[in-house]
């Protein structure tokens, strides 16, 4: 792959608010499903309430995704299904272009939607019964496949931007990873926030903060890679008007790192890492992280347009 001091003579696609929020919810949907699966794989039954929050969040945010995408089509909204089916006269059939992230993404959203629905339904029925509905092994296998799709959903949106000829977006390879790390970080924050409505899930809170810290560290590293690659291409000046959004994104990362460090220290000093309730600091940090996740995507999207 070759990066040049790029010249761009392109027109902006005007992907604005609907797409911004689609990218946010796709990141949160994929991130929360992946985290829920990881919690379930940890093997401790006491993590199950937190995992179920993750599956619920994943379904709700996944449902929002096609609505936003369809709304973005404007007056052609009724043709949303053309993403999946080629209606060219004489050449009808399914559309699938493995080299076009938008084409794969449309399919990934559809298939992941099935996994998100089944997992959330299973969680809901298990909650009602008071015991797991499906054998653990089968559940885990299903979740692992779903998590692979979830990771794709959270990351492909960044690749989609890169696979263009737009300034900034096409000048870096880091956006897929960056959106994934940010989506995971945001999902960890959202699940932590929602634990206040399910007190027994607080068992996983401390370790969720630690995981959130790891995701935030990855995000920070990828932001640095992003700036370096865009700088090498010569399109760094386009980022300058959006520095306030970048600052907000970094503030969210910093909050997540500070929170994670606090919980790690608590464990290292021999204290119990099990929290019995969600405290105010969790709520504040969660909101900051989520704001940062949104700001990051806004900064990337707006810098090219």
């Amino acid at each position: 792959m070759m990066y040049l001091a790029a010249e761009h003579f392109v027109r902006s696609p005007q992907w604005l608010w609907y797409i911004l929020f689609y990218f946010l919810f796709a990141g949160l949907a994929g991130g929360s499903y992946a985290i829920a699966t990881l919690l379930r794989l940890s093997g401790d039954p006491r993590d199950e309430p937190a995992a179920r929050i993750g599956f619920y969040v994943s379904l709700v945010t996944t449902v929002l995704c096609p609505i936003l995408l369809t709304a973005d089509l404007g007056v052609s909204w009724a043709r949303f299904w053309h993403m999946l089916v080629d209606v060219t006269p004489g050449d009808t059939g399914l559309n699938f272009k493995y080299w076009s992230p938008m084409s794969i993404g449309a399919w990934a959203l559809l298939v992941f939607g099935f996994f998100a629905f089944v997992s959330a339904a299973e969680a809901w029925l298990s909650d009602r019964r008071g015991s797991p509905l499906v054998p653990l092994l089968l559940n885990r296998m299903f979740n692992v496949i779903g998590a692979a799709l979830a990771i794709f959903l959270a990351s492909y949106t960044g690749v989609l931007l890169s696979v263009s000829n737009q300034p900034v977006w096409s000048d870096t390879w880091s956006l897929g990873g960056l959106f994934l790390a940010s989506g995971l970080s945001g999902a960890a924050a959202l699940i932590a926030f929602l634990m206040r409505y399910r007190p027994e899930a607080a068992f996983s809170l401390s370790r969720l903060h630690q995981a959130g810290g790891y995701f935030a560290a990855l995000e920070l590293a990828l932001i640095i890679v992003f700036f370096v690659t865009v700088g090498a291409a010569g399109t760094l000046p386009r980022l300058l008007p959006w520095l306030a959004l970048w600052a907000l994104a970094v503030a969210g990362i910093a909050a997540s790192l500070v929170m994670a460090r606090g919980h790690m220290r608590m464990q290292a000093s021999g204290g119990s890492a099990v929290l019995t309730r969600v405290r105010l600091d969790t709520l504040v940090v969660s909101l900051l992280v989520l704001l940062g996740v949104l700001a990051l995507r806004a900064a990337v999207i707006f810098s090219a347009q």
Binding site: W15, V75, N165, G177
Partner: protein
């Protein structure tokens, strides 16, 4: 011109050295294709009054006004460059590569065409086109650009812009004939000492060759065209993007497992 036949390659050769900026091509294009045009905007610092190619301007006469401080001497009038810009109908078309709906097709005349009944307005083609050719029509909710007068070609007629061009700056015909004519014209200009003249898109260095190619009187960048080094397809970032995401995913999963597997007391 000889009969237009399906199965043959057709295109435009736009010779900017004889463009006089009359905009007859813009008018003819709008008239034939029933394009309403955008609301007028006041561009006091230029003779350009359409601004750019978009959903309403499928031909756009660019004025590159590099007026020097001192008056030009005889034979040194290159301060005024004019170019009738249009969709390039690239052999390796970025728009066609990314289109998720299959709306963008190559016709029997080897031109690039957006099927209006298939396009759903996702605008991925707009993000991909390196020439800023495609625009969104808000009334139809679909992407629009030059069709190389597909309907006229089917009826055996040459495109409206080429028909209207009074200086033959825009020439239409079978691609091989146009390439031959361009080579002759370039040789003539070089023999007259205009060594800055060059062909753009005549060979396969830019997107595999352009069906609408140009004779330029300066570097491509001066005309707002990416040079051969920068003319890259969007798919160049597929591999890097996915590998970056996969490495991130692997690290994130390890991080998550490490965090969640840590045993706690209580």
């Amino acid at each position: 011109m000889a009969t237009i036949k399906a199965g043959e390659e057709y295109g435009f050769f736009t010779d900017t050295s004889v463009c006089i900026g009359c905009k007859a091509c813009e008018v003819a294009c709008k008239e034939w294709n029933q394009l309403e045009g955008n609301n007028p905007t006041f561009l006091a610092d230029s003779f350009d009054n359409t601004g750019s190619l978009d959903a309403q301007n499928w031909r756009h006469v660019k004025f590159i006004e590099q007026v020097p401080d001192k008056s030009a001497t005889t034979g040194n009038g290159s301060a005024w460059l004019m170019m009738s810009d249009v969709c390039k109908h690239c052999k390796h078309a970025s728009c066609m590569e990314v289109c998720p709906t299959g709306a963008i097709i190559r016709t029997e005349f080897n031109t690039v065409f957006i099927q209006q009944d298939v396009c759903n307005g996702c605008r991925n083609c707009i993000a991909a086109c390196p020439y800023g050719v495609i625009g969104m029509n808000q009334q139809t909710g679909t992407a629009h650009k030059c069709t190389l007068c597909y309907d006229r070609l089917q009826g055996g007629l040459e495109p409206a812009c080429a028909k209207a061009c009074p200086t033959q700056s825009i020439q239409f015909g079978p691609l091989a004939d146009l390439q031959q004519a361009a080579d002759v014209r370039l040789a003539t200009l070089h023999s007259q000492g205009m060594n800055q003249a060059q062909l753009y898109g005549r060979d396969d260095k830019v997107y595999g060759g352009l069906n609408a190619f140009f004779l330029l009187m300066d570097k491509p960048e001066t005309y707002g065209l990416p040079n051969a080094d920068n003319a890259k397809l969007p798919s160049r970032n597929d591999l890097g993007g996915y590998v970056g995401a996969a490495i991130t995913a692997a690290l994130a999963v390890v991080g998550g497992l490490v965090a969640f597997r840590r045993r706690v007391t209580g």
